[in-house]
Symmetry: C5
């Protein structure tokens, strides 16, 4: 993981909302068709070409990148007999994560979070549709997290080769959830670094830095809580397409998500504490400033009064003509300063 | 969307409570009667005329504007056999959104929110009654949001032409919910602009501006949460008039409402953060002021003491007659100022 | 509604706890016996007289004022076969509102809230017992809110004349709930007036005024939430004495209570905001004071130093004998003041 | 109730945790055996003697004081066939209140709270075991609250004489719950007195006094909430030993507990408000101090500058030789002071 | 329990996350095989050797220390027919405590918390797998808390010798839960000491000390709440391997956990209060400082003005030549100081 700068970047938010697929990028469809014995993987440019590869006797894993054009969405949905409402939600990048079942399909929408090299956090939409003989993945072309999974499928000994599409569905979810660990860890690191700064350099106000962390965490909460709930629903719910033997695996993913939420909540607690500490630092700085002002004033003002008295122009001020008047007064001033010093000592100012 | 002023208007609340239909405006009834083959749309001035158009073999969409006169309410309710309690709630503009079923009708009350050109947020009451062969819409005459829907119905290929009234009911709800997106977005924009101001111009206190946003959001929460719950009840509840095949559409509307609530909650979180930042800005301003005061005092008070000493009128002050007394003292004063500067440097005041 | 003073009265609480019936006032019993055809209304002084009027073939509405004497309570309870525990709760003025069923009776305890002319809020206990052929109302003699209901019953066309006692029970509840609207509205007005004061005259601290509103609202919450729950229980619960056809009416009352709670919660939110604004005002006042102090000090202290320097009595201070020394120094002082002014401008103090 | 001192005692907590029975005090067993016709009451020193009095044809009320010795606990438990786990919980003074059923017994553990003469709040453990023909009460010997109940049982007309042990069980619970009213009332009084102090003497900080009340309330919450829940469980639960006809009595006790919790919560709300008021008082004191400082500085510093100017020793200062120079300058100083006064007036400082 | 230092150590967190078994330490397996008549206890170095001792006719208690090597995990899991997912969770040290059942096994993961001599709090992972004829304990080799349990088993009269493995499972849980009491007690002590410091020495800011306690408590909450829930699930759930007669014992453990959570929550409340007190102390210190500043300024500035006036060099200042001018002015200065003193007295500054 690349080292982040100690203080997060000046941008107001760590999360760059990536609320649209790459609109200018062309639709890309990648088809991986496999069964126990064979694997075939193709990158195709159109739905027409895709149809040639789909084989409903085998398991079909279809990656669809950058799908934004309405008529292609419709054509694609028609081919797989996907309910238009479900299809719309599958490619809608602004919605919160959720799980739905409709007819012969089941849809789970997720978000993928990752840190950019510049230290910003970005979120990508991912839609997974599970059908009788296929799993369709809607994603952004930039998104490479399923590469490793493809490699595993190509290995003929992979467990997924002998299982139904719902096991593949589980593997895809698992790949996404795994990425949250590193994000939550990175946030934990950023917060730890802020803590060190707050304790070691209490002279500055870090409110803006702290809120630059808090804002994306607030958005993240809106992502990881719904995902946890969606996974909970899958495990509890009686989804027709999920085989009983796949439930323990999904249960395990749900437990991972639970751990992530737990780590995240713990980070949020710490961040709240840091805000309090920052606040306390501000108050202490004010206290420190006022103490200095008070000490200086208390020490010098009485002395200034004394000099004022002997600066008066009265004709008849006998002290002025005394031989030792001046050193006596200087002595008195020293004694006054000492007295003030003791007074402040007693008042716990020093 | 029209640009809003950077700082919201001075009025105490962004929401102008429109808690009454246009009382001086006359009741207007608009009837749209249609089936698969025909559409007839009429604007009528009385219930008597209305009765001529209603055809219980077809679907009747009845818009009732500005209904406030008790005897017309009663007459209207009697014609459609609406329970008086239900009828009362349908036209009661102060109640919170809710769903009820009574006898052969089902009532859903909603609020329509919109920004006025002046930047104020206003809410309008909308009551929807679904019956066997009709949907009645109680609204304010100003309210034009269903125009587009009427145009769609007039199109003979519209899906709504082949469906039952419950599908029309769904379309009406959908039209209302859609308007919330722009309101929530606009609030998000206002908050974003406030955030920029708070970060860039921390010299002022924006508490009143922030509460001018917070107040209407507090009222909005009292509208969108009950609407979400009402939609949830419709989807879950076993309402006799809602066909099974319409449920997925209502489910979709409920999910939209969920997203709106989610966006709204996120805005509220941000607003809370802004209040904290504003608070922190205030403390920092105080800190800054105190620092200047302390620096000035610390630098000048000791020097003033020195001038005071040599302003004393003692006869016997040898320094006064020294040739280089004056420049020496000026030098000492410079050294003192330098010492104070270092002292403040060490105390992290500079 | 009488105008309240702008700032609430100095008393620590707006709610005067009226936790006892008028003990010195004599027990008063008022009996209204009616059926579809006849109404008879009598004010009697003793239970013995009362018995003569009670007719268990008709509906008996019995108002009992100021019932505190134990043996009368027992005698009364025995006559109507009321369970002693239920009877005790019916006249117990300190308990929170609740609903109970015991044997052939059902008890609902409520509180009546009202503003005194002096602007104070007082609460009165009301106990309603519903039996087979009667409804008993325990209340304070001062309490006149059921007068209008009595008049309506005397009207031979009144719906209540043709219904069972449970409908009468509903009408009584409705009369009580209606009074809450004006109380909640009045609180809303008081809060609105406080808001205007806080925004227009931020120079004072209103913490005590605000808490004088907050305290009674805290007590009110302890009344309206339990009432809402009691009504909810009546609607949900399977109470033997409540006919199915009365449920929609009670449902309607419950919805009214919901609206009241909603309005009340909204007022509490606003009050919280006002407390924050008041707090912010206090901080801003401090900031303002400190700014003035800093400006005055910054402008005058350096000038005072200059005068101090030329007030020193060194023999050899050439500037003193210059022809234009004095005006030059005055000029330097003006320049210094100008410099300080610019310095403060840059530090955003002015 | 004895008058408490206005400000609570300096001890850090009002609750003295009495987390052990009087260990040095000897075990005391008091047996009250009764049926409809006879009552026999004995104070015995050992379990052996006790056995002679127990009569399983009658109702046996057994008070056990200061039971801490393990072998006596075992012997006692064996005699009544009490499950060791239940027996252990019955005498365990540190646990939170709870209800359990095991075999033929049912255990309810409670806490008794009371104010000591010195104004401190102490809590005592009470364990109640209900069996077929007996109720056993584990308590501290100091604890005299059941004396009145014993007297009532000795009265041959007492209802308890004709009922089963579960009614006795109810009476014992009722005796304990009743004591909470006075404790909650006393807390309410202490808080009311603090409120008066806070409003009338805002010059001091009462944070430590307020937390000295808050701490024991926090501990009390840990007692009264579990008791309410335990009573709720008894009423709801299907406990074999509780007869149906005793349920309404226990329901009544539960309602009392509800009222106590309600009063307690209301006190806690008020205490929170007092903490806020105290906080606000502190801020206002700071504001007041700063105002004085600013007024004094603003009035005197400019005048001091004027005297500084005419204290300079320039040769050529024509004003100094003017006949009316001195009174003119005094006049100018008065005008300056007046100007500063108006300036502060405008800035709302005065 | 060793005395802790009054102020906790400077480390940022009291909890040292021990999120890995001792990786460099070798796997150690300890087998205790027993039935009513015989006990055999062996420390073995490999799974192969272990297999010789396991006797599925008896109860097998297997302690596995430092298990981190994947192939040993697999081999171990295969031997006991443990589901790989369950096995993975059993040795996964980062997960939150939970209970699961899979096939013929049941897994409970716990954390053991303890204070190091240096005053730091550390947490260790413990995994318990209950099978038909065995209980497996995964732990760290450092962990000695089950030593006492082993000794008890070796005693031929031990109850565990006559029971099924689920009773052993209960004993193991009980041993772990017991250690929480001392940890919670120690935290309570640390907080009590902090309270004393805060009250007795309010001159310092203890925010960092308080957060050094708060942070580990936040992490502890993430451990003890899930454990309570896991125990609750075991008691409620219908786990095949838990005999009905063991439920009361587990219920007892759950009640202990409830008490621990209750004590912990109470500590957290107190800590919150301490943070408030600390905050209040800071404000009071500021108030104190400002008071001194104001007193000094108010007393001396007016006197300085007087000396300034009589330090002016006007030719015509008659007072200067008066015989008693000087003492008169000194007298006036004393009176002014007295007046200022009275002024501050009235303003409650002194």
């Amino acid at each position: 993981m690349p080292r982040k700068k100690l203080v997060p970047p000046k941008k107001s938010s760590l999360v760059e909302k990536n609320n649209a697929f790459h609109e200018d990028a062309p639709v890309e469809i990648e088809v991986v068709v496999f069964d126990e014995n064979t694997v075939k993987s193709e990158l195709v440019g159109s739905i027409k070409t895709m149809k040639k590869y789909i084989d409903n006797e085998k398991i079909n894993l279809v990656f669809v990148n950058n799908l934004t054009e309405p008529h292609i969405i419709e054509e694609f949905g028609n081919y797989f007999h996907i309910d238009p409402l479900l299809m719309e939600d599958a490619v809608s990048v602004t919605d919160i994560p959720t799980v739905q079942e409709s007819g012969d399909q089941m849809l789970l929408t997720l978000k993928l979070m990752s840190f950019k090299a510049s230290g910003e956090l970005i979120s990508h939409h991912i839609g997974l549709i599970l059908g009788e003989y296929y799993v369709i993945v809607f994603k952004d072309s930039e998104n490479k997290i399923f590469e490793e999974l493809k490699t595993r499928i190509e290995n003929s000994k992979s467990k997924s080769r002998m299982k139904k599409p719902d096991y593949l569905f589980y593997l895809l979810i698992d790949s996404v959830i795994d990425t949250f660990y590193s994000v939550v860890n990175e946030i934990d690191n950023i917060i730890d670094r802020m803590e060190v700064i707050l304790v070691e350099r209490p002279q500055s106000d870090y409110i803006h830095n702290l809120y630059r962390i808090k804002q994306p965490m607030s958005e993240m909460r809106g992502i990881i809580y719904p995902i946890r709930e969606a996974l909970h629903n899958i495990v509890q719910g009686d989804y027709r397409l999920i085989e009983d033997e796949t439930i323990p695996f999904l249960h395990d993913v749900k437990d991972h998500m639970n751990n992530i939420v737990h780590m995240f909540d713990s980070s949020r607690d710490t961040l709240s504490d840091l805000l309090e500490i920052n606040n306390s630092n501000t108050n202490n700085r004010l206290n420190g400033t006022m103490k200095i002002l008070t000490i200086i004033t208390t020490l010098f003002i009485p002395l200034t009064l004394i000099t004022g008295i002997y600066g008066m122009n009265f004709k008849n001020m006998p002290e002025l003509s005394w031989q030792w008047g001046y050193p006596t007064i200087l002595g008195i001033m020293l004694l006054t300063a000492g007295g003030m010093y003791l007074f402040m000592k007693r008042k716990k100012l020093l």
